[in-house]
Chain length 154, copies 2
DNA sequence: GTAGACCTTGACGCCGACGTCAATGCCAGG
DNA sequence: CCTGGCATTGACGTCGGCGTCAAGGTCTAC
């Protein structure tokens, strides 16, 4: 099949497939006219990549799984290199989750404290039966909470 | 004080301070020679920014806190807009943590399963050795919050 | 008067995973 | 023949938070 069909069947875009090819993740054979030619196995490789990416794996981290599949193994995680990636990822996840839990606690404490202070001020400044709470929330895209890129000399 | 001194006292770089200024986050007065001039209040604003950034807040999210301080309030979170950011962040954190916990479980299960299958075949493993764990796991796709644009049609 | 330590603005680089043109080629249908 | 829908490569844009030059101005010390 050609790139458009593979993209559609996998629910992705041709741009993505070409990108994966530049990474060597999903190389394609070529038809006589220069068009990329894919088969069902390529679809499987692609699905493996997508599954891992949905878990938050970087594309490079999916490589061992893809190569494992291409080596003829029944599953992408039938190889030691893949298991190593799993383990690394688990450690990363644990660290990240712990970090976020810590942050959550601190932010929660800050909020509670600030709310307490605000309530004290409003009680002294506003009369009873006043207006409702302000609603200044706007649309936003969820980011992650991370750091670890070298900042703050410390 | 000048930019170099402020940077040093805050443990950051001049580049960062100029960047904050372009964002309007930390505007500076100017000395006669064109040099940026900061005072102790600016240092406080900067410290507020840093604290929030350490929590994983984006720079834009620190703006209400900074403006709150500049408005003369005792703390950056003495204003309703700041509290709104806190609450939004908490919700984000909760969502992110829940997501990561789910992923962790799935990856853990995958690993366990793969290890079982591997054990049945062979018992050879490679020694690990990574550069260091980073926490860059996102709750989901950072560029768009849903799959309407086409990936993983399912 | 000159080194050199500070400052200025401007502009490009980086990371990840693509999106989005642009210019052009291939092929089937009317 | 032309239209139109697929394909090709190439290259720049995006987002966030800066790093890293580059070319020059300013002030201080010797």
């Amino acid at each position: 099949m050609r790139i458009g069909e593979l993209a559609e069947r996998a629910g992705t875009t041709t741009r993505t497939l070409r990108y994966y090819e530049t990474l060597g993740l999903l190389p394609a054979r070529r038809a006589g006219n220069g068009y990329r030619a894919y088969d069902e196995d390529d679809l499987r490789l692609l699905r493996q990549i997508q599954t891992l990416r949905d878990f938050g794996f970087g594309l490079e981290e999916t490589r061992p799984f893809v190569e494992c599949l291409r080596a003829g193994h029944p599953a992408g995680d039938s190889c030691p290199a893949s298991l190593a990636v799993y383990r690394r990822k688990l450690a990363e996840l644990d660290e990240c989750i712990a970090h976020l839990n810590g942050v959550r606690q601190q932010v929660g404490a800050q909020l509670a404290e600030a709310e307490r202070a605000m309530a004290a001020l409003e009680a002294t400044a506003t009369a009873p039966g006043g207006p409702g709470p302000r609603c200044e929330l706007g649309p936003h895209d969820p980011h992650d909470g991370d750091e670890a890129t070298g900042r703050r000399a410390g």
